[in-house]
Each structure stands twice: as structure tokens, then as C-alpha cells.
């Protein structure tokens, strides 16, 4: 049986390969939206900050985690909305044409 660290490394390496494989060919039109969307996904660190903020005490660790939640939420909410706005512009004229 593998330890959690080894499992983590397996998962990490395989996920890297998936990431490499997904982005083989991509039209230049989508470079900016893809970057922006991937950037929103990197806000997944929000999950980590939620776990870190679970104690209600007023301590340095809670304050750090609280700021982490704010930062990560800005990244997630802002990232997905901005990407959607950009992509919405491509969709707009498809309907018309």
C-alpha cells in the first residue's frame, strides 16, 4: 500500500500529463480566455484556505487564512466572470451572423 505522499506524487505527475495533452493545439483567438480561465482554476487554493480558516478563534493563523480566502475568492469569482465576459463577445456575433 502506498503512503499518501506517494499517492500525491502519482496524482501530480499524471495530472501534469493531462494538462500537457489538453493544450496541444489551440487557436490564438483563445489564448487570452484560456489563460484567464486556467487562472481562475488556480484559485482552487480557496479549498485549502477554507480548511485553514475553520477555527473560529482570533489567532494569527485565522487572520492569515481569512486573507487567503479573500484573495482566492477574488481570483475565482473575478477569473471566471472575466473569462465569461470575454467569451461572450465571441458568442455575440455568432448569433448575428
Amino acid at each position: 500500500m502506498m503512503g499518501p505522499l506517494l499517492v500525491g506524487i502519482y496524482v501530480f505527475v499524471l495530472a501534469c500529463f493531462v494538462g500537457f495533452e489538453i493544450i496541444t493545439k489551440i487557436p490564438p483567438t483563445l489564448h487570452t480566455p484560456l489563460m484567464s480561465g486556467a487562472n481562475a482554476i488556480s484559485g482552487i487554493t480557496l479549498v485549502g484556505s477554507l480548511a485553514a480558516a475553520s477555527s473560529g478563534e482570533l489567532a494569527m493563523s485565522s487572520v492569515l487564512a481569512f486573507v487567503a480566502i479573500i484573495f482566492a475568492t477574488i481570483n475565482v469569482v473575478g477569473g471566471f466572470l472575466v473569462t465569461d465576459r470575454m467569451l461572450g463577445m465571441f458568442g455575440k456575433k455568432r448569433v448575428k451572423s
Binding site: H31, L34, V82, S97
Partner: protein, 479 residues
């Protein structure tokens, strides 16, 4: 019930979330499915968040709820208010927050597990050796991403100069700082035994990482900014994956690795578009080698008024418009569209030539022109349009410079030698709308300005275009 929740439901939901992230990212690589892909990724994120809250169970939610509300409001307002032209710097800023969050999570864990309980031992004793290392990496990479992205934001939004700032012996300085930072990391990881030294070590590591981020981005010249943003995006994914190792959370590891790897590939694609390597972008200040070719004096440059440009446009049968960053700055996308519509009604064949790195981000021009309702079919990529310039009557370059610089093909000593460019000089007439003769973001001279078939029209892109539009209108009315 709780066992079932923790052992089955939570891991299954995390897996679902990871799978949706992959589908979402995949969707984002095709125009047709991009919007749905983005929505899928957002759904995956929602599932991951809800699952984490389920997993936490009954805890004190006051910090969590307050943080989610504050962050959500800031993010939403920023995303809705931002101008399309300011998109690149907005993405850079968001990215910095993501990286910063990863570093803060790692710091929070250090405080919670070591400093606050006054743990008598090193981080490796309390968390395990691997977690001690990944927590440090999370602080290092996250902080570099935070400060680096912030500098990129300042450069792109013009709050600080876009030119590369080169410190003397910066490679030595960077290496030394990195060594000090790594030493601090090893110290808190394996040797520190009391809270006060732990705090000092963690602060030293954080502050030096922040400085490293600044030093990494300030030597990068404007033309390379898209590459560095993409690279920083990749780093923020990596930072999230490192946090995942500390927390043994697979969904963090998977999504972080996905972003890290795909960001690296995207960075690579952009480097290829500019004929550079990533190492070259990161470690050599742009425009340093080819000092002789830099912003030299110009000989005969012919300047024309918008009226004269309109007279040329009135007679052409085919027109290619080359948009650049100047178009974005002047918010001239709607005026360009107006001119194009006017000419198209007269039977002129109008198309737009899109250089892969025009603007401040790849795809920047596509987004901007889409906002002005320019039909997708009229946007032509560089490789398709280059052979067509020979048979084109006129090219209108709006606020672009480096991407039409013939030096890239004709002068092997130029800093941009080898970078693929739009061969606009092959056309009958080239009209360049530019604010001045100042060099572009790459900071080098453009000899196209002196070509015989080139007309310079100086002024703000939007104002010049508006004058051209009204002139063309009156010419048409007079005819």
C-alpha cells in the same frame, strides 16, 4: 453516517470536481465550446468548495463566510467594471491574488501547527518532512507569483514604465537571495525548535520570495509581458498543487498540476510565436544585445494628414487593417469597424490581420474586435494573410509597431530578428496611424517608417480614424 460522508461521498465529489475541471479546460481550447468549458470549470470549483465545507462539518464559519463575501464582491465588481482593453492587466492581478492565497495558506498552517501551540520541534517533526518542504515551496512560489504579477499589472496598466529595468549583476543578486530563502526554508523545515525562530524564518522566506518575484519581472520588456503572465499563471497553479501536498488534498493537487502544465504549454506556444525560448525571455533583458539597432534616428519619414489618408482609402479595392496596442489604448475598435463598414458598402474587400502577439496578450485583438462586432471571418491569422499582402492595395496599421517591423526578417542583428512579422510592406501602400515616431514596446527602430510606400499619419488612433471616416464620407457624398 459521518464515516460514509468522509470516506465515500467527499472523495467521490472531489473526483467529480477534478473530472469537470479537465472537461472545462478542454472546452476552453475550442471556440465553439469555450464558454461552456468555462462554465463547467466554474461548476467544478463550486462542487469543490461545497465538498470542502461538507468535509469540515460543523466548524465555526464566521471567517469563512466573511472572507467569501468580501472576496466575491471585490472579484465580481472588478470583473464587471473592467474595460475590455484592460483585460491583460486584470488577469495578471487576479493571478497574483491566487498565488498570494497559496502562500498565505501555507503560512497559516505554519502558524496553526507550530507557532501558536508553541511546538517544540521543526516543521518536519510536526507535519512530516515532505509537507515541510512543500509548505516552503508553496510560500516561495506563491509569494513570487503575488509580487511578480503585481509588477506585471503595474507595467501593463502603465503605472510604471514598460521598459526593462536591469540591475547590475542581477543574476548574482537573484542567486544569493534564492540561497538565503532556501536556507530559511530548510531552517524552519528541519532545524528550528521554538516559535520565535520559526516566525523569523517564515518571515525571511516570505519577504525574500516577494523580492524575488519583483526582480524576476522588472527586467522583462513590454513585448515579453504576455509570456511572463502566462508563466506566472503556471506558477500559481504549481503553488496550489504544493498546498495540496501539505493538506493531502487531491483535488488541489490535480487542478494545480493541470494549470501548471497547461500554463507552461501556453507559455511555450507564445514563445514560439515570438521566436524566443522561455529561458531567453526570463534571463536576458530584451533589446540588450542588439544595441546598435536600437531606436536610431529616422531619415525621410513622410507624414500625411487624415484627409490624404482618406483620399487613398477612397480609391482602394482591398484593405487590410493591422490592429495593435495603440488601438486598444485609444479605444478605437468601434471607429475602425465604422470605417470598415463604410468601405465594405462600396465593395472594398476588408480584412484584419491578427499577429499572434499583437497587443499585450495573445488574442487581445480578437477580444477587442469582437467587442466591436467585427465578424469572426474577417480576422485573418498571420500565416494565412502574409502571402496576400502582395496583392493588397492598402494596409492600415493602427497602433501596431513591432509586429510589422521588417527588421525582424531583414536585419539579423536586430533584437527581434527571426520573430515572425506581418509583411505589410509588400502591399501597394501602407498607412501607419501612430502617436509619434517613438519605438514600440520592444524599444527598437522600425525602418518601415522610412519606406517609400509608407505614409505616417500621426495622432491618437481614435481621433485620426474619426477624421478619416468623416473625410471618406464627404468624398463619397461628393462623388
Amino acid at each position: 453516517m459521518n464515516d460514509a460522508l468522509n470516506n465515500i461521498i467527499v472523495p467521490v465529489l472531489y473526483l467529480l470536481s477534478a473530472v469537470l475541471f479537465i472537461f472545462g479546460l478542454k472546452g476552453l481550447t475550442r471556440v465553439r465550446s469555450a464558454r461552456r468549458g468555462n462554465a463547467l470549470a466554474a461548476l467544478a470549483m463550486l462542487i469543490a468548495i461545497v465538498t470542502t465545507l461538507l468535509d469540515l462539518g460543523m466548524v465555526d464559519y464566521q471567517w469563512i463566510i466573511a472572507g467569501l463575501i468580501v472576496g466575491g464582491l471585490i472579484g465580481a465588481i472588478a470583473a464587471i467594471k473592467v474595460e475590455m482593453t484592460a483585460m491583460p492587466e486584470m488577469v495578471a492581478l487576479f493571478n497574483g491574488f491566487g498565488g498570494g492565497a497559496s502562500a498565505l495558506v501555507a503560512l497559516s498552517i505554519v502558524w496553526k501547527e507550530l507557532v501558536e501551540p508553541a511546538y517544540a520541534g521543526s516543521a518536519a517533526d510536526a507535519l512530516g518532512g515532505a509537507s515541510a518542504i512543500t509548505a516552503f515551496l508553496s510560500i516561495l512560489i506563491g509569494s513570487i507569483t503575488l509580487s511578480g504579477s503585481f509588477v506585471a499589472f503595474l507595467k501593463l496598466s502603465g503605472k510604471i514604465g514598460g521598459q526593462p529595468t536591469l540591475l547590475p549583476a542581477r543574476h548574482v543578486i537573484n542567486s544569493l537571495l534564492f540561497l538565503v530563502c532556501a536556507t530559511a526554508g530548510i531552517y524552519i523545515g528541519f532545524f528550528s525548535t521554538e516559535p520565535s525562530s520559526m516566525i523569523t524564518g517564515a518571515l525571511v522566506a516570505t519577504i525574500i520570495s516577494l523580492i524575488l518575484g519583483v526582480l524576476m519581472v522588472i527586467p522583462i520588456g513590454g513585448a515579453d509581458m504576455p509570456v511572463i503572465i502566462s508563466f506566472l499563471n503556471s506558477l500559481s497553479g504549481l503553488a496550489a498543487a504544493m498546498t495540496g501536498f501539505v493538506l493531502s488534498n487531491n483535488v488541489l493537487i490535480i487542478s494545480g498540476a493541470l494549470v501548471g502544465a497547461s500554463g507552461l504549454i501556453l507559455t511555450q506556444i507564445m514563445c514560439v510565436a515570438m521566436n524566443r525560448t522561455l529561458g531567453n525571455v526570463l534571463f536576458s533583458g530584451f533589446g540588450q544585445e542588439g544595441g546598435s539597432a536600437d531606436a536610431g534616428e529616422y531619415g525621410t519619414v513622410r507624414s500625411y494628414s487624415p484627409e490624404e489618408a482618406a483620399m487613398v482609402l477612397e480609391t482602394v479595392e482591398s484593405l487590410v487593417i493591422v490592429p495593435g496596442y495603440g488601438l486598444a489604448v485609444a479605444q478605437a475598435q468601434h471607429t475602425v469597424k465604422e470605417l470598415a463598414d463604410l468601405l465594405q458598402k462600396r465593395g472594398v474587400k476588408v480584412s484584419y490581420a491578427i499577429h499572434p502577439v499583437a497587443g499585450r496578450m495573445p488574442g487581445h485583438m480578437n477580444v477587442l474586435l469582437a467587442e466591436a462586432d467585427v465578424p469572426y471571418e474577417q480576422l485573418i491569422e498571420m500565416d494565412t494573410i502574409n502571402p496576400e499582402f502582395k496583392t493588397t492595395d492598402a494596409v492600415l496599421v493602427v497602433g501596431a509597431n513591432d509586429v510589422v517591423n521588417p527588421a525582424a526578417e531583414k536585419d539579423p542583428s536586430s533584437p527581434i530578428a527571426g520573430m515572425p512579422v506581418l509583411q505589410v510592406w509588400e502591399a501597394q501602400t501602407v498607412m501607419m496611424i501612430k502617436r509619434s515616431l517613438s519605438p514600440g514596446f520592444a524599444g527598437i527602430k522600425n525602418e518601415l517608417f522610412e519606406y517609400d510606400n509608407n505614409m505616417m499619419v500621426f495622432g491618437d488612433a481614435k481621433k485620426v480614424l474619426q477624421e478619416i471616416v468623416s473625410e471618406v464620407k464627404s468624398l463619397i457624398a461628393a462623388a
